[in-house]
Symmetry: C2
Subunit: 497 residues, 2 copies
C-alpha cells in the first residue's frame, strides 16, 4: 500500500520554481470560483506519519491560496466545551460552509489510530470506529462536500533521519518531542494499523491520497496539484454531487516515478547457479508441503504479468516440487457462460483449495483491474469497486489460514518483443502468440498505469505483491520459489504459536 | 422498529382466497420473465424469530412459483467441505445464477446474531461482522443481484403462545426443540440484538422488510406481494442495476393497519386529576433535574406532531418545572442562510446541550422525513438516507450520555379542524394559524404514511418514539411529563451502576 510512497520521489528546484507560480494562480482561480458559486464545501484532511511535514504543508496551502477563506483546524485535546458533547461535535462545529475550504490537522482518524496502536481498543473496535467515520464521510459527500484526504508517508529510515536532523538543528529541536520518539519505536505497529485504516476508509467518494513526505517540493506540488485538479473537476461539472473519485484513478506521481520502474530488470542468474538453487528450493518446497502442520493451511499463488512474462514456466517450477494430488493449476481466461451469470468473484471462489492444498492461478481476479479496465470490458465504476472487493476477498482467505502469495512478473518491452519473435520462430511455441498479444503490446502504458494502481491499492500486509524481475527467467523462477517457501514457512511458524 | 409488526395484522379467509390466485399468476409471470431475460439473480433471505413460520413461508413460495427455478438452501451446521474454506464459501457456492431465485433459510445473519446473543462475540465484533455482510451484499447488488430480506417477527407473547400450541398438538410437537425454549427465554436479548442488526444492515439497496409472523395468511400475502412488486419493478426497469429500494418506501401493510391507528385518541383526563398530576410530575421532574448525578447526563426532547397537536403547550408544561438556566427551547423552522450552506444535520448539532442541561426541540431533524419528504423539498434519495443518518446521530447522542426522548403528539383530523377554528376565533391565538396549516391538512394521508415510516425506521431501543394520545391536551401533557421523568430516572439509575 505504501510502496509508491517509498520510491524517493523528488522535484528539483528549477522545476519547482517554474511550476509553483502557475499552480498558485490556478489554485486561486479555483478558490475564487468556489467562493462565488458556493457550490460545495471543501474538507481537506492532512494525516500521516509524525514529522512528515503535515504542519508545513498546511502553511504552504494557506500561503498559496487566500487564507481568508480557509479555516484551519489543528485539533488536539478536547476542550471542556467539547467534552460535554459527543466526540464528533468538535468537527461538526468546524465544518466549512459551502464555498469555503476547511483544513483539518488532527482529524477524526487520529484518535482511533492511536488508541489501537497503544492497545486501548481492539481491532474490532477499531473497525467499528472506522465504520462510523465512513458513514460520517458518506453523509458529508451526499450533502455535496468535496473531501480530500492526504496521508503523508515516510519510510522507517526516512522518519529516523528526519527526527535526527530536526534534533541536531537548534532551530528545530523543539519540534521533536518524546512522543515522536515513542511513536518512532512503534513505527511497525503504526504502519500496520495505518494501512488497515487507509484501506478501510478509502471509499470511492473520499479516497486517501498517499504522498511521500520526504521531499518538501514533491509533497507540496503533489498535494497542490491534487487539490487543484479535484476542485476544478467538481467546479466544472454541472451535475450535482459527483459519485466519482475526486482524484484521478492513478496515484499522482508528478515526478513520473512509478513503482514498476524500481524493478531492476538487469538481474540475472547463471545457468549453473540456477540449477543448484532450483534443486535446493524445490526440495525445500516439497518438505514444507509435507510438514506436519501443513494441513492447517492452504496456499493460493497468483501469477500476473504481461504476455510472455514467464508465468507458465514459473508455475511449472512449483508444480514439479509438489505431489500432483496436492495442487491445481487454474488458468484464467474469459469466463464461461455459467460464470457470466454469476458475480465477478464467483469463478474464483469455486476454485478455493481444500486445507493442505495449493491452488496456482495463472492470471486471476486481478484481470478486473488490468485487462478489463484497460480494454474497457467493464465500466469505470466496476473496476473501481473491484479493489475493495478483492481486498475483502483476500482478507477472508487469510483469516481462514490461506497463504496468499501474489507475483507480478516484470519484463520490459524489449524483452517481450524478443520473446514474441522467438515464439513465432519455434513451432511448438507458436500457439502461444496471437494477434491479441501484439494488440495488448500497443497498450503497454495503459497497462503499466493499471499495474501500479493495482499494487498501490491491493498490496496489503496480509497479502502483499511480490514484484519479480523477470527479464531473466532463471532469476525469476528462483525468486518465486524462494518467496513462496518463505511465506509458507512464516505461516507454519505462526501456526506453532 | 418492530412496532408495525406487533399490531395483530390479519387477513381474512375470503380475501386470501380471492387474492392468492391472482398473486400466484403474477408471481409466475414475473418468474418466467426473469428466467427468459436472465437479467439478474434474486436472493431471498428469510430470517426472524423462532417459530414465526420461516419454513412454511419457504414452502408456500415454492408452491406459488415454479420450484424448478428456485433453489432453496436451508443451511445449518458447516460440512467438512465447508469447514476447509472461509465461512462465506457456502454462500458463494449457493448463489443463484442470473435468471434464477435462491431462497436462503439460515442466512449469513444467523451466526453473528446467535453468537452475540450467547455472549461469544462482543458488540464491536458483531458490528465488524455486520459490516462485512454489508460489503458482501453491496457487492452482490453492484453485480446486479436483487436481494430481498424478510424478517418474520413475533411479539414475546405471540412466541410463547405459538410454542405452547405447537407443543400441545401431537402432530407438531416435534417442531419445538429445547433450543426454541432456550431462545424464548433469551427473547429480550434477541429482540435487542436483532433490532441493532436489522437497523445496521437495512441498506438502501437491500433493506429488511419486517413482517408480523403470527397470521399465516397475512405473512404469505405480504411476502408474496413484496416479492412480486420488487421483481416486477426491476424487470420493467430498463436501466441496469437500480440503486433504489426494492420495496416501496412505506412498510407494506397489506391489511391497511398502521401503527398510528393503534393510538387510542379517546383517552381523556379530567381537569381536577390533571391539576393534581401536573403538580406531582412537574415536582418530580424538578427533583430529577437537581439530582446529584444529573450533571452526568444531558436531555434532548423532541416534539413532533401535526399542526395544532399541542407541542408548544406540552413544552411549556416541562419548562415550568425547570430552572431557566438549565434548558433551551429550540423552535425549528426553515433553515437560516448560514444553515443552508451546511449539511442538513449541522443546525441540530449546534444546539446540543451542555452536560446537565435540557434541549427541547419544537420540531426537529425529523422534518427531513416528514415535511421535506411530503412537500418534495428534498429528493427521494435525500430523505431515504436520512433515516440512517438520524439513527447514527442519535446513537452518538445516547453513547454520550444524552437521554433522547421523542414524542409524536397524535390527534385526528376532526380535532385538528376544531382547534384550527378555535384559533381563528381567539385573537391572541390567531397568529398560530396560517394558510400553510390549511394546505398541510390537505395532505393528511401523505403525512400519515411518512409518520408511520418514520416510527418504523427510527424508533430504536436506545431512542424510542412515544406516541402520545393528544386529542385531549390534559392527557397528553401528563403522559409527556411521566414519560420524560421515567426516561431520566432510568438513565440516572444506570449511572449509579
Amino acid at each position: 500500500m505504501f510502496e509508491s510512497a517509498e520510491l524517493g520521489h523528488k522535484i528539483d528546484k528549477t522545476r519547482y520554481k517554474r511550476e509553483v507560480p502557475i499552480l498558485r494562480e490556478a489554485l486561486l482561480d479555483a478558490q475564487t470560483d468556489l467562493l462565488q458559486s458556493r457550490k460545495f464545501p471543501v474538507i481537506i484532511l492532512i494525516g500521516g506519519v509524525d514529522c512528515a511535514g503535515k504542519g508545513e504543508t498546511v502553511n504552504i496551502l494557506n500561503e498559496w491560496m487566500d487564507p481568508r477563506h480557509i479555516e484551519t483546524h489543528a485539533l488536539r485535546n478536547l476542550t471542556d466545551e467539547e467534552l460535554e458533547r459527543p466526540p464528533m461535535w468538535r468537527y461538526w462545529r468546524s465544518l466549512p460552509p459551502r464555498g469555503k475550504i476547511g483544513i483539518f490537522l488532527g482529524t477524526w482518524y487520529s484518535a482511533p489510530l492511536i488508541e489501537n496502536v497503544y492497545g486501548n481498543i481492539s481491532n474490532a473496535e477499531l473497525d467499528q470506529r472506522l465504520e462510523r467515520i465512513i458513514r460520517f464521510e458518506k453523509m458529508l459527500c451526499d450533502e455535496g462536500a468535496l473531501i480530500l484526504k492526504f496521508w503523508l508517508h515516510l519510510s522507517k529510515d526516512q522518519q529516523k533521519k528526519r527526527l535526527n536532523s530536526l534534533e541536531k538543528d537548534p532551530g528545530t529541536r523543539w519540534r521533536v518531542t518524546d512522543t515522536d520518539w515513542k511513536h518512532y519505536k512503534l513505527y511497525d505497529r503504526f504502519h500496520q494499523v495505518s494501512e488497515r485504516m487507509l484501506r478501510a476508509t478509502s471509499s470511492a467518494e473520499s479516497p486517501w491520497l498517499i504522498v511521500e513526505g520526504n521531499d518538501p517540493r514533491y509533497r507540496y506540488l503533489t498535494i497542490g496539484t491534487a487539490i487543484h485538479q479535484a476542485l476544478r473537476r467538481r467546479l466544472d461539472n454541472h451535475e450535482p454531487p459527483l459519485k466519482e473519485e475526486p482524484f484521478p484513478p492513478i496515484t499522482l506521481a508528478i515526478d513520473g516515478v512509478r513503482v514498476l520502474h524500481t524493478v531492476d530488470l538487469t538481474k540475472r542468474l547463471a545457468k549453473k547457479e540456477y540449477e543448484t538453487e532450483l534443486e535446493q528450493w524445490q526440495g525445500k518446497l516439497n518438505l514444507l508441503s509435507r510438514h506436519k502442520r501443513f494441513h492447517k493451511l492452504s496456499v493460493i499463488v497468483v501469477f500476473e504479468g504481461y504476455d510472455a512474462a514467464g508465468k507458465g514456466g514459473a508455475i511449472r517450477r512449483i508444480t514439479q516440487a509438489l505431489d500432483a494430488r496436492h495442487f491445481r493449476v487454474i488458468p484464467i481466461a474469459a469466463p464461461t457462460e455459467e460464470e457470466q451469470l454469476q458475480p465477478y468473484l464467483w469463478r474464483f471462489w469455486r476454485h478455493l483449495p481444500h486445507a493442505g492444498r495449493f491452488a496456482l492461478f495463472d492470471r486471476s481476479w486481478y484481470g478486473r483491474v488490468l485487462v478489463e479496465r484497460v480494454e474497457g470490458y467493464c465500466s469505470h465504476a466496476d473496476w473501481m469497486r473491484a479493489y475493495g472487493e478483492i481486498n475483502d476477498f483476500e482478507e477472508q482467505l487469510v483469516r481462514h489460514n490461506t497463504v496468499v502469495v501474489k507475483f507480478w512478473l516484470a519484463i520490459d518491452r524489449k524483452e517481450q518483443l524478443r520473446r514474441f519473435k522467438e515464439r513465432e520462430k519455434i513451432s511448438f511455441k507458436r500457439f502461444k502468440i496471437t494477434d491479441e498479444d501484439w494488440r495488448n503490446r500497443e497498450k503497454w502504458d495503459d497497462y503499466e498505469l493499471a499495474v501500479c494502481d493495482m499494487i498501490d491499492r491491493t498490496s496489503t500486509e496480509i497479502a502483499p505483491w511480490t514484484l519479480v524481475e523477470a527479464n531473466d527467467k532463471n532469476y525469476a523462477r528462483i525468486k518465486v520459489l524462494k518467496t513462496l517457501c518463505a511465506r509458507i514457512e512464516a505461516a507454519l511458524d505462526r501456526k506453532r504459536k
